[in-house]
């Protein structure tokens, strides 16, 4: 299973973090700090996997963001790369040509999207169409005021 | 980057080129500013070199300076291009009406780092050395190092080094001081070649009080490495240097102190020495109210100075100056603590302890640890105050804060070594906090204490057995500590500890892989079998008492460091010769 997913900027800022299983705050902070250190600046030609503590890190850089997952040792690393790509494509479709700024200012939307793709560290839906449909239905339910205030990019 | 720029923005370069060709000077200026802006961003604008050169021949000084800036940038990396400008430089260097221009030309030419430049530069440089304007001469003086760096041989051949010596007699102090800087740098390359006589000393001392603050540093540093031979000259030099302790520039103060401390070695009159020492203290203390960076350098240097001349801070209350402020950066705090330990004496120890205990409550763990160990080091240093220090340590241990306990154990071990059998009563407090000892060093220290004070610790056998539970997994240092402690306990308690010693010796000889540990095990075993009384004499013998002397720098090293106060040597505490030799050896990165 996937234990956590982090989006880290080139400068080491955490843009999104989701822990699918409980970690203490101390553990979380250590993971975030270590991951930034391990991943940033790694040449894209090198392997996208690293051993870390008693799990594996699978990561990939998309534009200015590093997508980093920690997965259990029994996971299929290549499949995890595909899952991350799945997420990236969905972000892209939802925001329309997504960039780091979209995720910074609409981090909540990115979390909502993630909730429809992965639950508890397991893939729950592989159809992009189905996911986007459910998301737009939920967006309709949201308080208009909330989004008007915060002016979601469409 | 550069390829990218040329390909996609060829148009931009062309545009700039057109602007450079314009007859209107403001337009040219604008173009050059843009070029320099690109240069600043790291873009390659060298394709414009020839076009820029064409603008060089202009009566407009601002434009000219812009061209110079451009050339300076490429002078080092692309000397072949830069040499194209050489004719204009030569012309500018002969520009009679404006010394600024001449200076600029000589200065910039020296930056072109190819040997062939020397052929072009030697004549204008010679002229410049004799120029009527001091601005040109002071620039030429520095330019000689540049030529020396390009080719030392040619520089000697052309007698530039000798001209430097002549410049020491120049009427302008700034010229003299720059010549001194050059001389010193060349000395650094080829060894000392200039002997100072009374005449040159006098000239330097005259220049010293007339030149800029920076020039004073050059002259003072020069004096620190070139000692006059005659004691009378030394005394007169001292007299002229002392006033510089009042200079507002911290580097002048430090360099002046350096000269004084070195020269003092050659004075025999104790009163004179005392009077100089008295003058040294206040300016050094004042450095503590500067920027943190300057404070840091100053503290490091003060630490050396007071090792050399402990009587400088005689008043006794100087220690207060080094108390840590809440907002001092960590690197300053740590160094201040070092000085505090050096300065603390029986008069100030109470304040010191109050102060350091305060630090031990702070949040910054490295600082707190250092504060704890400072208390211990103070105990070791001051026999009569040891009681108070130990009491302070006990208070800290009783807080049960993990890192306080850990650091205390390590330092109390040394206190016990310094004062055998004086503080056994405190051991109980440490025995109550064994759980906090997470690291090998602390455990080894604790085990040593148990072994050493076995007769005072009723459950010492049990303690050693529990430490030995994971014997195989323990760090080697802990294994050794257990072995030695077990032997000591056995020698003291005999029968009571028989089972334990058998177990431990078995662990150390039969089960251990480490030959060193096994060696030790066998040596003890054979001793015990052979002649237990002999073992008792060897193992339990009182060890020479450690002292704080070991914290002092070796006197010969200290003397060589004193000659380099203010420089990197004084920060890294590496002996000058050693650092130079171990150029290759210093591959690994080390922090200062």
């Amino acid at each position: 299973m996937i234990l956590f997913l982090l989006l880290i900027s080139r400068h080491g800022k955490i843009r999104l973090c989701k822990f699918f299983t409980p970690f203490t705050t101390k553990e979380r902070n250590k993971i975030m700090k270590d991951c930034s250190g391990l991943v940033i600046g790694r040449s894209s030609r090198l392997t996208n996997f690293l051993e870390y503590s008693d799990f594996k890190l699978v990561f990939k850089r998309y534009a200015s963001l590093y997508f980093v997952t920690g997965v259990t040792k029994d996971e299929n690393e290549l499949n995890i790369l595909e899952i991350m790509h799945h997420f990236v494509e969905l972000l892209d479709r939802y925001f329309g040509n997504v960039c780091e700024l979209d995720i910074i200012f609409n981090f909540h939307a990115a979390y909502f999207l993630l909730d429809e793709i992965i639950i508890g560290g397991q893939v729950q839906e592989t159809s992009k169409k189905a996911i986007l449909k459910k998301i737009s239905q939920q967006d309709l339910l949201l308080d208009e005021q909330f989004f008007k205030d915060d002016d979601k990019k469409k | 980057m550069s390829i990218n720029f040329q390909n996609s923005k060829r148009g931009e370069l062309n545009e700039l080129r057109m602007e450079l060709l314009s007859v209107k000077i403001p337009k040219k200026k604008e173009a050059l500013k843009k070029i320099i802006a690109s240069m600043t961003l790291g873009k390659d604008v060298s394709p414009l070199f020839t076009d820029v050169l064409k603008c060089m021949d202009t009566p407009n000084i601002e434009l000219k300076k812009l061209v110079y800036l451009y050339i300076i940038n490429y002078a080092k990396s692309q000397p072949d291009l830069a040499i194209l400008a050489v004719n204009t430089f030569r012309k500018d260097a002969r520009e009679r009406s404006n010394p600024l221009m001449r200076g600029l030309a000589v200065r910039t030419m020296g930056c072109i780092g190819v040997e062939s430049i020397i052929d072009y530069i030697c004549e204008p440089l010679k002229d410049a050395l004799n120029d009527e304007d001091p601005y040109v001469r002071k620039t030429a003086a520095i330019s000689i190092i540049k030529v020396y760096d390009i080719s030392a041989e040619r520089c000697e051949e052309l007698e530039f080094v000798d001209s430097l010596v002549d410049l020491l007699s120049d009427g302008n102090a700034m010229v003299v001081s720059n010549a001194v800087a050059s001389l010193m740098e060349i000395t650094n390359r080829r060894g000392k070649f200039f002997e100072m006589d009374g005449g040159s000393l006098h000239k330097l001392l005259t220049a010293l009080s007339e030149c800029t603050e920076w020039g004073r540093i050059y002259i003072l540093d020069f004096l620190a490495t070139h000692l006059p031979e005659d004691t009378r000259e030394i005394e007169s030099a001292i007299q002229r240097v002392v006033p510089h302790l009042s200079h507002s520039n911290a580097a002048v103060v430090l360099s002046a102190s350096k000269v004084l401390i070195r020269y003092m070695d050659y004075i025999e009159d104790e009163d004179k020495i005392k009077s100089i020492c008295r003058k040294l203290a206040p300016p050094l203390v004042s450095l503590m109210s500067s920027n943190p960076e300057i404070q840091y350098i100053a503290i490091k240097n003060v630490n050396l100075i007071i090792q050399k001349r402990p009587d400088i801070f005689r008043k006794g209350d100087e220690i207060k100056v080094f108390y840590c402020n809440f907002n001092d950066p960590l690197y300053v705090k740590l160094e201040k603590l070092e000085i505090m330990i050096r300065l603390v004496d029986l008069k100030t120890v109470d304040q010191f302890l109050r102060e350091v205990k305060e630090y031990a409550q702070e949040l910054d763990v490295p600082f707190v640890r250092k504060a704890v160990s400072a208390i211990g080091r103070c105990a070791i240093k001051l026999d009569k105050a040891a009681d108070r220090c130990v009491q302070a340590l006990i208070e800290l241990v009783r807080t049960k804060v993990e890192y306080l306990v850990q650091e205390s154990v390590i330092v109390i071990k040394d206190v016990l070594r310094r004062y055998p059998n004086r503080y056994e009563s405190i051991i109980k407090d440490f025995c109550d906090n064994l759980k906090a000892l997470n690291f090998a060093d602390e455990r080894a220290a604790m085990i040593w204490i148990v072994g050493e004070y076995a007769d005072k610790i009723s459950n010492c056998v049990l303690l050693i057995e529990s430490f030995a539970e994971n014997f195989k997994e323990e760090a080697t240092i802990v294994q050794h500590a257990i072995l030695t402690a077990a032997v000591k306990i056995f020698l003291k308690l005999e029968d009571e500890a028989e089972d334990m010693i058998a177990d431990i010796l078995k662990l150390a000889t039969e089960e251990a892989e480490n030959p060193d540990l096994r060696n030790r095990g066998y040596v003890y075993w054979r001793m015990l079998v052979n002649n237990p009384d002999m073992a008792r004499e060897f193992v339990l013998e009182e060890k020479p008492i450690i002292s704080t002397q070991s914290e002092n720098i070796d006197p010969t090293l200290l003397d060589s460091l004193i000659a380099y106060l203010g420089t990197l040597f004084s920060i890294s505490l590496k002996a000058p010769s050693k650092t130079v030799i171990s150029k290759e050896g210093a591959k690994e990165r080390f922090d200062l």
Binding site: G12 | K65, E210, N249, A251, P292, I294, Y331, L568, I571
Partner: protein
């Protein structure tokens, strides 16, 4: 031994190079990347200002979101390097009024010119703004003025003179000089009111607007000066512990008979600094008691007392008292001044515009806590900081007895003198 440095870099807060000047060309341009990496690895407070990587020494200073880094080879005089870096900042401040990323970018041409003139081959040269301004004009001045001819700009006569800080031919309509004697009181007190350490850092700031090449003599109530000259004084004499002078002051003469004589630079400069170690009691004493401290509430009683003569008044008194990091619902009661909660500094800030001597004021504060406790709530007992200014008053009692101004043109210059005392590092530990 080489004293100087090889190159100087200006980096933004992320470590990106804004501009640099390579003086010696003996250090590869990739070296600065190592500095950047170290910057990212360590927080400022952890990184020492000077460190060595292989054979290259890095010296750095941080200021206004910028880093100024000097790289050196061999054995630089690091004290000189740091003093130069600070001087550099000072000159840029004089030129651009502010020293920051924008001003540097806006003035990069002048910045290069200054870097070229202030240092040659790693050796500091001319660093006095007044002198530099003679031949490096600021941008604003340039555009306003007419186009310059080669002959228009000359090296400052100061370079050729023995007086390297003052050009000839300065003219002022009114010949005046202003002296400010400013004293900062550094003080560290324990919570019980014991003064742990205290010192006075004094300085005499000048603003000279005198014509020609005036020669000045300053007379202070310096005890040693009176002793040397065998005079007696009616007023109080003080013992100045360590005096440092601007380079214009004739040090040898001072050393001989404690006469402060000098030809001043034009405009503002710091003539001298001095230090006194006399024991003084805190001018503003703050006592802070935490009256109750529970899981849901904390209450403070803060008492401030002015311990100086009643005819003096302290202006802009600001008292900062630390509070736990997660308080809410601040509530303050006081009859004097205003109080606010400064969450960004985890303290409350009590400011009193005017605080007369011998007066005492009281303030009570209470805060609530959220029900879920933040882990480091209890770690708030830092020092209380106090800021203030007291005009017409110096702690040391320093006095300017006279200022003689002699110029060969014979004009009569007017000296003006002011006194002020301020806080320096002024901290009172909290119990």
């Amino acid at each position: 031994m080489s004293l100087g440095c090889s190159c100087i870099y200006f980096l933004d807060y992320r470590g990106k190079v804004l501009l640099f000047r390579d003086y010696r060309g003996d250090i590869s341009s990739s070296e600065i990347n190592k500095f950047q990496r170290r910057l990212l690895e360590l927080e400022d407070s952890l990184s020492k200002p000077v460190f060595k990587l292989k054979d290259i020494t890095h010296c750095w200073v941080g200021k206004n979101n910028l880093y100024i880094v000097a790289l050196c080879k061999g054995q630089p005089n690091v004290m000189m390097v740091f003093y130069f870096l600070h001087k550099l900042i000072k000159v840029f401040e004089d030129y651009f009024t502010e020293f920051n990323e924008e001003s540097l970018k806006d003035n990069f041409v002048i910045t290069y010119e200054l870097l070229d003139e202030m240092m040659d081959h790693g050796y500091p040269q001319l660093t006095e703004t007044t002198v530099l301004k003679e031949f490096i004009k600021s941008e604003a001045f340039r555009t306003a003025g007419k186009e310059e001819k080669l002959t228009d700009i000359m090296v400052s006569s100061a370079v050729s003179n023995i007086v390297s800080w003052r050009p000839e031919g300065i003219k002022h309509k009114k010949n005046e000089i202003f002296l400010d004697a400013v004293e900062e009181l550094n003080m560290l007190c324990s919570s019980t009111g014991n003064v742990l350490s205290s010192e006075i850092l004094g300085s005499v700031q000048c603003n000279s607007m005198l014509s020609g090449m005036p020669d000045l003599k300053l007379g202070l109530n310096d005890k040693q000066a009176f002793e040397i000259k065998g005079k007696t004084s009616r007023g109080k004499l003080i013992e100045l512990e360590d005096i440092k002078f601007h380079q214009c002051v004739r040090l040898a003469q001072f050393d001989r008979d404690r006469t402060i004589s000098f030809i001043p630079p034009d405009g503002k400069f710091e003539l001298m600094t001095y230090r006194l170690n006399t024991r003084v009691k805190p001018l503003i004493w703050v006592e802070c008691t935490i009256e109750s401290h529970t899981k849901s509430k904390i209450e403070y009683m803060v008492k401030a007392k002015a311990q100086f003569k009643s005819r003096s008044i302290a202006n802009n008194v600001e008292i900062y008292v630390p509070v736990p990091c997660d308080v809410d619902s601040p509530n303050f009661k006081t009859n004097t001044g205003t109080v606010e909660y400064l969450p960004e500094e985890d303290c409350m800030h009590w400011s009193i515009k005017q605080f007369a001597g011998r007066k005492e004021y009281l303030m009570r504060a209470s805060f609530g806590f959220p029900s879920v406790e933040q882990t480091d709530r209890e770690k708030f007992k830092n020092a209380i900081r106090v800021k203030y200014e007291i005009p017409y008053f110096t702690v040391s009692g320093i006095q300017v007895r006279y200022l003689k101004i002699v110029d060969k043109s014979g004009y009569k210059g007017l000296p003006w003198v002011r006194y002020i005392t301020k806080n320096g590092q002024y901290q009172i530990r909290m119990s």
